[in-house]
Amino acid sequence: MGLLHNLGTVCILLGIPFFISGTIGLLRFPDIYTRLHALTKADNVGLGFVVLGLSLQADGWHTVARLLLIWLLVLIASSASCHLVARAALRKKIEPWSRP
């Protein structure tokens, strides 16, 4: 109990930097495509760590299954919407930024 609990706490705290770097990437990166990179990857890994941490601390398979379901849904939603937004941007002829 104690060990798992602490491990879970570590996982949760590991997830937070990913969220923060996702936001920083969103603010710093130069164009829509690179921002999509930041958001889709960093946030999903962050949520993955939070879900992992909470699962380690969960008190039954039921909670774990629900947590995993929620994470899977967010994964599907964000990767699909990443693709759709990138596609719409490309079809709108928005040029990707490239290093001068």
Binding site: L73, I76, A77, A80, H83, L84
Partner: protein, 348 residues
């Protein structure tokens, strides 16, 4: 010492009005919409902090999900409409703006601001007054808690909504029904025809999410009996499935028989009314269920209402009564979506 949750609440309390202000002050419609979607999310978090999970759930489903999709689709229509209007009104409508002399503008501004401030002051006073009038000791909460045993459900909110104040909910369901009727009587849905392939990613997304939305809608209706959830939340999630279908514009939407939609729309209000009549006929008051059967009645009404609310909200998104049956749909489709929208402008 201020703990992290205290700071959390403070950030929330500061961000919410600021966001609302930026939303109202934004000159760009699109930005205002995105701000509105974000406001929905922060609102949901705020409701959670205010210990109102039912409202948070509804806000999550409606505010952050459905309204966002509705606004984003409306924006496109608005842009096209304004383009058409600009083309129509190109010849000399500009003078109208200049008819009001500038000095009246200058006088109107302080008056408007003064009125707004006055209204705000009255509102604040009324709030303060009603706060002073509220009896100490948690309002009606204890009274509800006392009667909860014979309501048939374990959730206080559901007990109030569907048992103690059932007629309020009956009227709400009726209002939604009327709104859907109003929209249906205005126009027929013109499903935008595919101007391009939606792509496999979207098709798969619909395939995965639509059944899950149905499941979660059912779950919310079920869980409404014991904690947060219920017909409105379930209906909103169900409507999201409909909106997703409409968005992905799958041919399936055309194949849903209109009669099914009509019955779905009427099911909730009909059942609710029927229950009311039966209760009165059995010698009780309006919607006074026999205590030992109350749970079953409430579940029945909730499920039927969830279906109706789902259909209603999806119909409000679609903006019209069901399209023509698919019999002539193969040959009779006129042109791409552009025509349909131009048609909307021309028909008045």
């Amino acid at each position: 010492m201020m703990d992290a949750m205290g700071i959390f609440d403070m950030v929330l309390a500061l961000a919410l009005p600021w966001l609302g202000w930026r939303l109202l002050a934004s000159p760009d419609l699109f930005r205002a919409m995105v701000l509105f979607i974000s406001l929905g999310l922060l609102m949901a978090l705020t409701w959670v902090r205010l210990q109102a999970p039912d409202v948070a759930l509804a806000e999550a489903a409606i505010g952050a999900g459905l309204t966002g999709a509705l606004f984003l689709s409306a924006l496109r229509r608005l842009e096209r409409l304004s383009e058409a209007e600009r083309r129509l009104a190109f010849a000399g409508k500009r003078e109208e703006e200049d008819e009001i002399p500038p000095e009246r503008h200058r006088r109107a501004k302080p008056v408007a601001y003064g009125l707004a401030l006055l209204l705000l002051a009255v509102f604040v006073l009324l709030l303060a007054w009603s706060l002073a009038q509220t009896p100490a000791g948690g309002g009606l909460g204890p009274a509800v808690g006392e009667q909860l045993g014979q309501s048939g459900v374990r959730s206080e909110v559901t007990a109030v909504l569907l048992n103690f104040r059932g007629y309020d909910t009956l009227l709400e369901v009726m209002v939604l029904f009327l709104a859907a009727l109003g929209v249906w009587s205005l126009t027929r849905v013109r499903l935008p025809l595919q101007d391009e392939e939606p792509g496999p990613v979207l098709a798969t997304l619909v395939r995965l999410l639509a059944p899950l939305m149905i499941m979660v809608a059912g779950y919310l209706v079920w869980i409404g009996g014991s904690r947060a959830g219920g017909a409105f939340q379930g209906g909103a999630v169900l409507a999201a499935a409909g909106v997703l279908l409409l968005l992905a514009n799958v041919t399936v939407v055309r194949q849903i028989p209109a009669a099914l939609l009509r019955w779905g729309l009427a099911l909730g209000p009909l059942l609710f009314l029927l229950t009311a009549v039966v209760c009165v006929a059995a010698g009780g008051n309006l919607l006074e269920y026999p205590p030992q059967r109350a749970g079953a009645w409430i579940l029945l009404i909730e499920s039927a209402s969830a279906v109706s609310i789902g259909v209603t909200l999806a119909a409000l998104y679609a903006g019209g009564r069901p399209p023509e049956p698919p019999a002539q749909d193969r040959g009779g489709e006129q042109g791409p979506g552009r025509d349909a929208d131009a048609d909307a402008g021309g028909r008045q």
